[in-house]
């Protein structure tokens, strides 16, 4: 029964999407409420799972394994389960998606399709976080492409078609690399077991790679190649410089709700995959390339921040800040310390809430002012004080103000990198210092942007703009409260992730 709970969680949105398909498209309000109910049920289910989650167990929980199909030389299973890494991401996914559905009640164009695609997307994302068979993982990973293509391509901005195709091709290539690597991992894994056993399960492959019957098959060069290929595959999604160029286009063109999901959840699939498959199956290689990952992390932080600094469009500023913040995830995981790994997972969750909130605020302001150009905004704190206030709060959370979730994750990640063993990352201290400078840049671009948009003299054309609608309070308050909750009481999250974090870190004896 407990295992079935996860299956229900993943497929409830898909069933909901099918239900919505049967409703005539004129019944806009019915469709909206149904979408909210379906996604809300997924949220409730994920919270039930959160409640039933055993904090003390390091392995998989809520597992279901059922044979799916047999391709002659390999049995592919429907294998799902969660641990401390996937648990918070599941809740993040349901929360952000539900709130984004509330945030998109203002959409009037082709409402039915919009919610069908959003719910299909929800199934895809949840599937990625629970799948333990690599075929299933790949299936869900690819499944997220199609709805996002439509969400950007139909409801996006002026360059929506270009952005949707760029998103499709880039992330499609990422999944292609991922799948080839998965199969190579399986083939070599089978060879390492002298073909006595074939498995496509991440869990079983991790054991095989740790204890092969025939270790000579798994040479350092092979494992190194596999890890780098996996890294590139997930780096495209995360995104990591230089594979990030799809992200600004996709974000800027996407409608608000899709941006929230894109930044809030979709990017996390990259970080999750890296930790789950890369670190899970090939921990020694992760350690071997720790320096590279840390350096790329710092480049991400600085590069994203510098580009954010020069953006004239508020939404692309937030998009580049996402790139910058994902650098912190890399920094944290590379450190191979408990604190660093905790920081990385904290950052995945915290950035999920904060970036969703930031994108929502930008969307809400754009809806009223019809512009996102920073220089054309100004004095919003006088014309729309509540919206401006929430935006300011989101920016503060993003900067990493103590008491908000961004602070905890950054602090932990930096504690991690400064504490990294010198064998692992020779210049950990220098890397940490440069990374910290990047964080100062974050403060610079966000505060500067806030100063130019919310403060200053009120522009005449913005007089009398309507402030937040009741429906808008749902995502705003929801996301901010969560950010504060994690910031004030990090135990809420660390309680769930700790056992798993210690397990991952212990794999390289750190």
């Amino acid at each position: 029964m407990m295992g079935n709970l996860l299956t229900w969680l993943v497929f409830v949105p898909l069933i909901g999407a099918a239900l919505i398909l049967t409703i005539p498209r004129e019944n806009v309000n019915v469709i909206r409420s149904l979408a909210a109910i379906v996604s809300g049920s997924a949220l409730v289910l994920s919270l039930i799972i959160w409640g039933g989650f055993d904090r003390g167990v390091s392995g998989m929980q809520f597992e279901t394994v059922a044979p799916w199909f047999d391709i002659g030389f390999l049995q592919i299973n429907y294998e799902i389960g969660i641990d401390g890494l996937s648990m918070p991401l599941l809740v993040l996914t349901t929360i952000v998606t539900t709130l984004s559905i509330f945030a998109s009640f203002s959409i009037v164009k082709r409402v039915k399709e919009f919610y069908v695609w959003t719910l299909v997307l929800l199934t895809g994302m949840l599937g990625v976080f629970v799948a333990l068979d690599m075929f299933l993982f790949f299936l869900f990973f690819e499944l997220t492409l199609i709805p996002m293509f439509f969400l950007i391509g139909i409801w996006g901005g002026k360059m929506r078609e270009y952005a949707s195709f760029k998103f499709l091709i880039y992330t499609g290539l990422g999944s292609a690399i991922m799948f080839i690597t998965f199969i190579a991992m399986f083939v070599k894994g089978a060879e390492a077991m002298n073909f006595q056993e074939t498995s496509f399960s991440m869990i079983r492959l991790a054991e095989i790679y740790a204890n092969p019957a025939n270790p000579e098959v798994l040479t350092g060069a092979l494992k190194g190649g596999l890890f780098l290929a996996l890294f590139v595959a997930f780096a495209i999604k995360l995104p990591v410089f230089p594979f990030h160029t799809w992200l600004p286009n996709a974000h800027v063109e996407a409608p608000t709700a899709a941006s929230m999901i894109l930044a809030g959840v979709l990017l996390k699939m990259g970080g999750y995959g890296l930790i789950r498959v890369g670190f899970g199956v090939l921990p020694d290689q992760a350690a071997r390339f720790a320096t590279l990952i840390a350096i790329l992390g710092v480049i991400n932080i600085i590069y994203g921040a510098l580009l954010a600094l020069v953006q004239t469009d508020l939404k692309s500023l937030v998009a580049y800040s996402s790139i910058s913040h994902m650098g912190i995830v890399l920094l944290g995981v590379a450190s191979f310390t408990t604190a660093g790994m905790q920081g990385a997972i904290f950052q995945l969750v915290s950035h999920g809430f904060i970036s969703a909130l930031l994108f929502f605020m930008v969307g809400a302001i754009y809806e009223r002012t019809k512009t996102r150009t920073i220089s054309e905004l100004g004095g919003l704190s006088k014309s729309v004080p509540i919206l401006a206030g929430f935006m300011l709060a989101a920016a503060m959370a993003s900067v990493g103000l103590p008491g908000l979730s961004g602070f905890v994750s950054e602090l932990l990640a930096f504690i991690g990198i400064f504490g990294a063993s010198a064998d692992l990352i020779p210049a950990a201290y220098t890397i940490g210092v440069i990374g910290a400078i990047g964080i100062i840049l974050t403060a610079a671009y966000l505060l500067w942007a806030m100063q130019r948009t919310t403060f200053g003299p009120m522009k005449e054309k913005y007089v009398g703009l309507p402030d937040a609608r009741p429906m808008e309070y749902v995502p705003m308050v929801g996301l901010l409260v969560l950010s504060i909750a994690i910031g004030v009481y990090p135990h809420l999250l660390s309680d769930v992730i700790n056992t798993t974090v210690i397990d991952i870190v212990s794999k390289i004896g750190g």
Binding site: F69, F73, F179, I180, I183
Partner: protein, 486 residues
Amino acid sequence: MTAFDANWSLMTPEIVLAALALLVFTIDFMTGIHGKKPFIGRLSVLSLLVTAVLVVVTNSTSGSIAEVFVVDPFAMVFKLIILIGVAMVILISMNFLDRERNAEVYQGEYYSIMLFAALGAMIMVSSADLITLFIGLEILSISSYVLAGFKKYSRPSTEAAIKYVVLGGTASAFILYGMSFLYGLTGSTSLLEIGQAVPMLFEEYTFVVMMSFLFMLAGFGFKISIVPFHMWAPDVYEGAPTPVTAFLSVVSKLAGFGIILRVFFLGFGGVFQEWAFIIAVIAAITMIAGNFIALTQTNVKRLMAYSGIAQAGYLLVPVATVIGDVGINMIVFYSVAYLMMTLGAFAVITLVTEDTGTSDLSSFAGLYQRAPYLAIAMTVFLVSLAGLPLTAGFIGKAYIFFGAVAGEMLWLAIIMIVTSVISFFYYFGFIKQMFMTDPRPNDKELAVSGSMQTVVTVSLAVTVILGILPGLVLDIFNTFNWMAFF
């Protein structure tokens, strides 16, 4: 064993189909040459379904007629693919023939030629002898030439038919020439005997054996339109009536794959290592050329031609990487997927291009507003062709990847997966037209006939069901000993 001792009942489906094809032909004469005759179309579909049932009943036990005409799971499954494929093509054609000016005059001809084409393809996949094989091939080919030129008064259609005849004749010549080498070497036309002799002869006569292989590859390669033998496809596909294009790109192509497998695995299986690399290179070139040229196409039928070339490249990958039953599993599974997704797509294409009178990609503009069900179904077919999840195409392609990586041809797998991503561009270009562009001002809601609805719904259902529960057929395939007919 003399011919009279042989178990002729193995041939029941073919004999029945030949009789029914002649019956359709005769009924056409007897009912006068003018007027609409939808019952002939229905009778043809019924004939094909009856034959399909007979295939399942009589071919469930393996056997052969003097090792010339063989019945094994391989032949059975390919025959079912052919029969179902032709039945669906006829259902698509019924709509087309009703609308086409003067077309009712030739309805009987059209249907009976389709049935004969199916008969040729069935004989082809059941033959283990070069002569029988060639006869089957020619019945299929000559019927196809006639069908390609079926719009008698249309210049593009006639041009397509002429091109197809000339080039197809050349391809047949290549096949015969390749066969003659084998006969010269082994003194036999039986694939079994050839298969036993070739490994022994290979050392001494490497050049002749390889020439024979290459000539046959060129000839069969023409049928399945792989690069560099693909040049005819876009022109013929564009000129031929759309349902015939569907026939060429699905039934004719898959039957061609059936025969390639039969000849290469049975006849040349012993020297697999010697030619696998050649096939791999051709598969790679086919996938690259097909997908890249498809990017530049704006005509739907030409686009589908290049897409079909690319798909042939995917299907060729297991031929090069996995010999034996698992390799056949992959090809047959993908063939079933290809049959459904391509015929489904062609049904929609026929409807849309006939309705708008142009086969430009823009004829799909705003299809979602004009016919939501068709647009959704078409999206599923395209997503399946592109190899994205919850469709049969996804599972089929993933299966082939497994084979390529496990068969130590990583480079080929990489080319396959990267070109698949390239194909997103043009498949999603269709989707963009349907969902993200407004319909052209004069286009109204699209009426869908019952037969079309059937084709689209069946294809859609199979594409999705096999995408979620591939075990339904894979479990059966896994029990098959594909080419065991002794």
